[in-house]
């Protein structure tokens, strides 16, 4: 019924726009004006030949009458209704609302999109304020300077006598701390200014590294083939990039590129591509364990090589992931600290640790050298499904009678099916083979009754 209502309203709208009388349109398609009136007021079902005749007479495609521009509007309104904590009073009334009051429906949809954008910004800011080591260090610097100035100034204004040598010394200290405070405050303001802007200048060393990697799409062709002097190439890559400003970011970039080069030597891109093309199935072409066995290279290296390949490679079965060829990757050390992030749309990765403990990445740390394959559903807005592969392998050389340190990797591949968020978070979701529900981090995860929750969610509980 709702679809019929929409179609009738659109027919009427289009006819009026053409300044066509109801009787004329009715005559054109061979029906009575009164019957057309019923159709236009959504009291009669329409389809088949009559729909084709009406669309031809109105000079539009049939789909423009059955779907129209309202399709996207309705989808947004449905999304807004499902995101509301209160049950929708009349789910089918959404289409009626869009048909009868398109302007107000547009305002509602626009407000919903705005709320989503603001929630995203809140997530980013909350993540930064809670876990950002740069921000914590900056605030410490500011407060330390203020403390020193306050303590010193209090001595200077004290009416008790101070020896000239001490007085000069305290004046000098205040001057130094004031300059340090001004510098720290300026840097902090600049940093916070950029916190809510997706394309803002990034300041922390980790930000710098990630910006560098994203600007290259994690792909460094210069290090792929025979490289005579890899150190020189790596140094040039770092020196030429404007994103890498701090010494820490440059050091991290060097470690990343050195490992990239070792991986490229161990598993050349052409060899990986050949193995993918010769895989028994499209699924095997992206399965790190299957590729590892075929190529005699450890799974973690295969994961890194898959994630740094160009995202669209000719000849590859791009449809394995239903049209998606993008691949995400995240790695962590034995403390759970995230080391490498290649984000994937729909599977957000926290920027400063404190990730969701339900990630198979962390399960892998509990079962070193045991590859894990798991379907997961993300608790984010769209509740997307992903196939993830995880493994924890030792880092460094093995030494007799010494426990190795482990590093875990998780490869993330998108699956096509999506489910409304309300269903994804349902407490009654089937268990067993059901996808594992995962999030980004507790603070911005709406999942209820999660055993892994460390702190309340600002999305459901507010600040």
């Amino acid at each position: 019924m709702p679809q019929r209502q929409l179609t009738g309203g659109r027919i009427r709208e289009r006819r009026i726009a053409l300044a066509m009388r109801q009787a004329d349109l009715a005559r054109n398609v061979g029906i009575s004006a009164s019957y057309l009136n019923l159709i236009e007021h959504n009291r009669r079902r329409i389809g088949g030949k009559l729909l084709l005749d009406l669309s031809a007479s109105l000079g539009v495609e049939p789909s423009a009458l059955t779907e129209g521009a309202e399709a996207a509007l309705i989808a947004t309104l449905r999304e807004a209704a499902s995101a509301s904590p209160q049950p929708s009073p009349d789910p089918e009334g959404i289409e009626d609302l869009a048909a009868r009051f398109p302007g107000w429906a547009g305002v509602l949809a626009d407000r919903h999109r705005r709320v989503l954008a603001l929630e995203r910004t809140v997530e980013q800011l909350a993540d930064r304020l809670t876990h950002d080591p740069y921000l914590a260090a900056s605030m410490h610097e500011v407060l330390s300077s203020v403390t020193a100035i306050r303590a010193t100034a209090a001595i200077l204004v004290d009416p008790r006598e101070i020896e000239p040598e001490w007085r000069d010394r305290f004046h000098r200290n205040i001057n130094e701390d004031a300059a340090r405070l001004a510098h720290s405050a300026q840097a902090l303001v600049g940093y916070l200014d950029g916190a809510g802007k997706a394309d803002a200048a990034l300041s922390s060393p980790q930000d710098e590294l990630e910006r560098f990697l994203l600007s290259r799409d994690h792909n460094f062709a210069e290090l792929e083939d025979d490289v005579a002097q890899a150190d020189t190439v790596i140094a040039a890559l770092i020196d030429q990039d404007e994103a890498l400003q701090s010494a820490s970011a440059r050091a991290q970039a060097r470690l990343y590129l050195e490992r990239y080069r070792r991986d490229a030597e161990r598993l050349p891109r052409a060899r990986l591509l050949t193995a993918q093309l010769e895989a028994d199935s499209a699924e095997d072409a992206f399965d790190p364990l299957a590729l590892s066995l075929r190529l005699h290279v450890d799974p973690a290296t295969v994961m890194r090589r898959l994630a740094c390949r160009p995202q669209a490679v000719a000849g590859l079965p791009a449809d394995w992931a239903h049209g998606e060829t993008r691949i995400g990757l995240v790695s962590c050390d034995a403390s759970g600290t995230l080391l490498l992030r290649r984000p994937l749309e729909g599977f957000d990765l926290p920027r400063f640790g404190a990730a969701c403990p339900r990630w198979p990445l962390f399960s892998a740390l509990n079962r070193p050298m045991t590859p894990i394959r798991q379907t997961v559903r993300h608790s984010g807005q769209h509740g997307r499904l992903f196939r993830v592969f995880a493994v924890a392998q030792p880092v460094g050389r093995l030494v007799y009678n010494a426990d190795p340190l482990f590093e875990a990797h998780m490869l993330i591949l998108p699956l096509a099916e999506t489910m409304p968020q309300s269903a994804a978070l349902s407490k009654s979701a089937p268990q067993g083979d059901a996808p594992r529900l995962v999030g980004v981090s507790c603070r911005i995860c709406p999942a209820q009754d999660c055993d892994g929750r460390r702190e309340p969610s600002i999305l459901t509980d507010g600040f």
């Binding site: 330390s144 020193a148 303590a151 010193t152 209090a154």
Partner: protein
């Protein structure tokens, strides 16, 4: 005999200011500026009271204090913790580690002297 206080803090100008006011107030002041060997320094110098910063190079003040409380010689040593944070969580951590008092930066000189005098009176 002057009471002896050990300031474990990594900001030189804060050390200098606190040292000055405490010396003027009659304290014998000693200082140390890193967390690595702070526990052994406290043991070696045996002060009457310690002012301990939380964020130190090498080791956090919470860890240092936890170690001090595990040692018989320092388990009852009065310790005033200084931190740039002031949230309830930080106060809980300080109390859990065994802090005698907790003070948030920026503090006033008078508050520091008052806190120290109260600690020695206890």
């Amino acid at each position: 005999m002057a009471r002896r206080v050990l300031i474990i803090e990594d900001e030189p100008n804060i050390i200098e200011a606190i040292s000055f006011i405490l010396t003027r107030d009659g304290w014998q002041v000693d200082t140390h500026s890193n967390g690595h060997d702070a526990v052994s320094v406290v043991q070696a110098r045996a002060p009457d009271l310690v002012i301990l910063d939380v964020m130190l190079p090498g080791r956090s003040g919470y860890d240092i204090l936890t170690d001090l409380r595990a040692l018989p010689a320092t388990q009852d040593l009065p310790v005033l913790m200084l931190t740039a944070r002031g949230q309830a969580r930080d106060r809980e951590l300080a109390e859990k580690a065994g802090a005698s008092r907790f003070m948030t930066k920026p503090f006033s000189n008078a508050d520091v002297i008052e806190a120290l005098n109260a600690l020695v009176a206890e």
